[in-house]
């Protein structure tokens, strides 16, 4: 029979490898200080400012027609961007993890490219694409398709900025899972789409959802890129973050923070979802 460690011996073992209590308290305190300055104060500030003139002003600010239009535009953008990048993420991850080909490492680096690009540049390139002398842009212009200073411009700039999120979650996950299950399905007579739908997709579902949440959060909050392409036309090409900016620059702080509080709420929701997903993740990968 193995002896179960008694609580005393267990804590002794624990003590030996962990830091002395004063050190722990000091370091935790230091971290808390950082959190207060950089997380809690800003969060608290948003709500304090948002409600400084009371509930009615708050409600008015977030139900005012420009705010509602901005929210609609933001949600439309998310609804287009997330599925497109998710579809791409799955496709690219399939190509990269299930096959061997020359140039795989280079392709993976290219997928990360948008991370290294400043949001302002991300916006700039689409302005250049359309405004420039290249045939495609002028063709679009002639056919009355307005990309810049309109919803398509916002969508495409957001697509660029959030491009890597899903695929970056999926590639390591699918690499870790290997090709064994797909090959097993193949020898059992499954066709391509059956393998994908019955084996691969269920195996990556949490990772996919996780990537989509990150992608969604970024799409809601993107500011720099959207700011360049939008043209700031109120009620038409204003996303929620842009609306916050405009209100702020008009010194309408209460309204600005009221609208911002929606974004804070969404950010907290994202963080909460992320934690939940990660727990699911661990559960599902625990036996592997």
């Amino acid at each position: 029979m193995l002896k179960q460690p008694t609580p005393e011996t267990a804590s002794l073992v624990h003590k030996r490898v962990s830091d002395p209590l004063p050190v722990q308290i000091f370091l935790i305190g230091l971290m808390l200080l950082f959190f207060i300055g950089f997380i809690f104060l800003p969060l608290g500030l948003v709500f304090a400012q948002a409600f400084q003139k009371g509930w009615s002003v708050y409600l008015e600010s977030i139900t005012e027609s420009y705010a509602v239009e901005a929210l609609k535009l933001t949600l439309t953008t998310v609804a287009i961007v997330v599925p497109l990048n998710a579809f791409f993420g799955v496709t690219a991850a399939w190509a990269i993890t299930k096959f061997n080909f020359v140039g795989k490492a280079a392709l993976k680096t290219l997928l990360d490219l948008p991370f290294a690009v400043s949001p302002v540049i991300a916006g700039l390139i689409f302005v250049l694409l359309v405004g420039s002398r290249i045939p495609f842009g002028s063709w679009l212009g002639e056919h009355g398709i307005k990309i810049i200073f309109s919803t398509p411009g916002i969508v495409i700039a957001t697509l660029f900025v959030t491009f890597p999120f899903v695929v970056r979650e999926l590639i390591p996950l699918m690499e870790a899972q290997g090709r064994d299950e797909e090959e097993a399905a193949l020898t059992l007579g499954a066709r391509g789409w059956q393998i994908f739908a019955k084996i691969t997709l269920p195996n990556i579902s949490w990772g996919l959802l996780y990537g989509m949440i990150l992608c969604g959060a970024r799409s809601i909050g993107e500011f720099g890129a959207v700011s360049v392409v939008s043209g700031h036309i109120r009620g038409q090409t204003n996303t929620v973050p842009l609306h916050v900016e405009i209100l702020y620059s008009e010194y309408n702080f209460a309204a600005s923070f009221a609208v911002a509080s929606i974004l804070v709420f969404l950010a907290l929701l994202t963080v909460g979802l992320k934690v939940t997903m990660e727990k699911k993740f661990q559960k599902n990968s625990s036996h592997h």
């Binding site: 064994d180 299950e181 090959e183 097993a184 399905a185 193949l186 020898t187 059992l188 007579g189 499954a190 066709r191 059956q194 019955k198 084996i199 269920p202 195996n203 599902n284 625990s286 036996h287 592997h288």
Partner: protein, 357 residues
Amino acid sequence: MGIELQDITKKFGSYTAIDDISLNVASGELVALLGPSGCGKTTLLRIIAGLELPDAGKIILENKDTTNLPPRKKNVGFVFQHYALFRRMTVFENVAFGLTVLPHKERPSRTEIRDRVEHLLKMVQMEWALKRYPSQLSGGQRQRVALARALAVNPKVLLLDEPFSALDAKVRQELRRWLRKLHDEIHVTSIFVTHDQEEALELADRIVVINKGKIEQQGTPQEVYDHPANAFVYNFLGNVNVFHGRIHNGKVTLGSHRVDAPDELKHSEEKPSRTFVRPHEIGISRIRSSDTDLTGTIKEVRLMGGQIGLNLECEGFEHPIEAEIPRDLYINLQLSRGEKVFVSLNRVKVFTGDYAI
């Protein structure tokens, strides 16, 4: 003929994994592909299954050329080293998978599927685990489910890729015997890949020894073990003592001794030779029984379960000789470290030429 491989070659870049292998497996036979890791045995198995494509050669399964068929049309059952069970499916769903992905016309009814899955799971003694997920099973249980899953599609050929290597020793033995029994019952043409000579010797009807992408020897376990075709096979099939020497005038040098060369080498010209003796084919006694006996000193005694391992320093030999004797003999002779004994090499095998191992 169950499986016919004709001149299979497979290269990965500049590395030749399979070098012009031809092999026939009779229907209902259980064949082991035995070789060290990296010898190409798994690649060969994957080629048969269609999971890799050969650069040259033909694969004929049940008299039908399947070289260019995709895996799903080959009708082979494949058991993976790490089981490759579908982790998001229950045991039942796993085993039923091959039937549920059949086109509508060929797909059995739900009750037929259920019956077949239950029958298979009973056969592999896993019927109690229908609703479990793979993560809830032990390694041995998972491998049995994987086997049931492979058998569900009534494969013409069953291919097993190191099926027991991820299991611990005791489970491995159990499952090995159980697989032999199962094969005797269902008689599906099977090939399994292994690097464990014991497993191959115990389980297979026929052993194919592979090294560096080529077949070194094939035959029944008895043949391969008793008459190894070359030094590699001899060496790979068990522990050996190797003596480097020369063959000359019908005699082989062993250390400072000279012994009669085996018949087939009696008239060989002078050349380097290597003499192999298995540890359990070495006799130990207290009294000299023939002139050729060596005298040795016991340097080390190792308990190895039913056998006792002896490390002997013999007169005229540079390196110590390893011997294995039954425990009873060891007790009867009252041996211990430092004692002098007489050593007879009961069966020696001599190879000439520069065969690299």
